[in-house]
Symmetry: C2
Subunit: 318 residues, 2 copies
């Protein structure tokens, strides 16, 4: 009998879920569209039915808990609170709804925190007690582990590095303020930087043929790899912003390592080189050349792994 | 028999020490000049002799431990490392030297961390698990408590909010970089801002008669209270810088309250009003009007209280 955790990653478009064992092997994986159900109860029921069916195929496993990573997930209350990308508005008592269907411990946190726990349990942060995971997706999230524990803070929403204001009166952010890091460093931030550079410069660029709504961060990376100057400058600028905020965050939390996770992190040297340069340039002397800046050690199913890791992390404490 | 802790606050000029009971009553207090002894061993011996003499006057007390707050103090190693304001250079194994003289547990940390523990044990943060203490002196220090524990980080030097870079290529900082918060928000920062404003503006000001080396933050506060426009603008600017960095730090650590400690904090509304304004203005929506910004609840002997509090905090854990 193998103990397994159900990991669920709720994204704006898709919700992925799967069974993961203690070593991080993903035995089963499936997904449903997040936005289909107006009624959140029916959304959970659909997951329950799929999980229930899947469990029948495994005789030798025992489901011991559920870990959920969700935008604006609050670990303390098991709620999803005013998530801008989800259709369920207000404060949703998500863990309670899962408890109606599953008679199992349910742990919920935001997706970046889940990624950090995943990194600690299965990934590159094994054995580390102080580290940061930065998730680079549509926005920028961060999970900060201090002294072996996730930093939740007083209200459960600590670790919002994406909403550190780096440029007062800078770019408009979805949070209602201006100049937040994620308006510069994220897939969306990269697009905005491309358009700013196209406006400010006269250089030829293949990106001049792509409308804003069609442009993806991947296209910018591909153009940069072909030597496109606007694309290269975009990554330089993105890395500068990220490096500066990471250096400031180090002064506050003193981590051993920082992991970059998500699509943008997969562009390799394009993002790592400038980020590392400006990170080191802005670090306090005592930290220079001492803090590892690494790609996430989680590969496929990273989001499911991260969510499932919550279960092991919490049950290990008991 | 009353248990007492010896609290020692090592400053650039004076070292204050005293006996403090569990409730925060300071039974005895004394100080020596920090810089007299080239040999750190003789410095510790002088404290030992004074403490030894003082103890003779109290029959009913039992000294149970020593808490030391020191610039660049490292809690993990009990060392003072490359403190710019002290004459003892390099890495000084301070706790070890104390152990030679006193057969007692010795706990050492930096002065801002000691202030934070003092706030938690005796001051306004009693019962709080997530809060920040900002010490405003010659420089700017911070002690960050998360989940009831000081945030030390991987190397023991977390919580250096004074070295968050707020203005890239801004004012030269003693740390070798530019634009650190403490070059704007500290007694020295206030002086620098006065001189910048005197240079940029034509307004009359009583501060135009005071040379840089004679000017103190207290003089600037007094001038502001008399309506001096340059002095008022200085506090406005100082509060803006502090409010912005505090709001960014809240996004990272999510505290319940922030306490301002030290000389500048005693200028009351002059510093609190602009700080609170820019703090609230820059906070993420979920935090607005929810985080207390307060003066330290420690009054006299605050530095000795803070250092002694380390003892209760650590011995309570055992």
């Amino acid at each position: 009998m193998t103990d397994i955790a159900l990991g669920i990653d709720i994204g704006g478009t898709n919700t992925a879920f799967g069974f993961v064992d203690r070593k991080g092997n993903c035995l089963f994986e499936d997904s449903i569209a997040t936005q289909t159900h107006k009624d959140v109860d029916l959304f959970v029921k659909e997951i329950y039915n799929k999980v229930h069916e899947a469990l029948k195929k495994y005789n030798d496993v025992k489901l011991i808990g559920i870990g959920i990573g969700a935008p604006n997930g609050n670990f303390y209350t098991g709620t999803i609170e005013n998530a801008p990308n989800l259709r369920w508005k207000g404060v949703i008592h998500f863990s309670d709804i899962f408890n109606k269907y599953f008679n199992l411990p349910v742990f919920l946190t935001n997706d970046a925190n889940a990624a950090a726990i995943g990194e600690m349990i299965y990934g590159g942060a094994k054995g580390m007690k102080d580290f940061i995971v930065v998730t680079l997706g549509t926005g920028l999230g961060s999970g900060i582990v201090v002294n072996g524990e996730l930093l939740y803070g007083h209200n459960g929403f600590a670790g919002e590095m994406g909403h550190v204001i780096i440029t007062p009166d800078g770019r408009q952010c979805a949070c209602g303020r201006k100049g937040c890091l994620e308006t510069y460093v994220s897939a969306t931030g990269v697009k905005r930087s491309v358009y700013k550079l196209l406006a400010d410069n006269l250089e030829e660029s293949e990106l001049r043929d792509i409308p804003f709504n069609k442009l993806t961060a991947k296209m910018v990376a591909d153009a940069a790899n072909r030597g496109d100057k606007i694309a290269l400058k975009t990554f330089q600028h993105t890395g500068r912003m990220l490096g500066e905020v990471l250096a400031n965050t180090v002064a506050i939390t003193s981590p051993e390592a920082i992991f970059l996770f998500g699509g943008l992190a997969k562009s390799g040297d394009l993002i790592f080189k400038p980020t590392r340069y400006y990170f080191e340039k802005n670090l306090l002397k005592i930290y220079k050349n001492k803090i590892k800046l690494l790609p996430s050690g989680l590969d496929d199913n990273a989001a499911i792994l991260g969510s499932s890791a919550l279960v092991w992390n919490e049950l290990d404490k008991i």
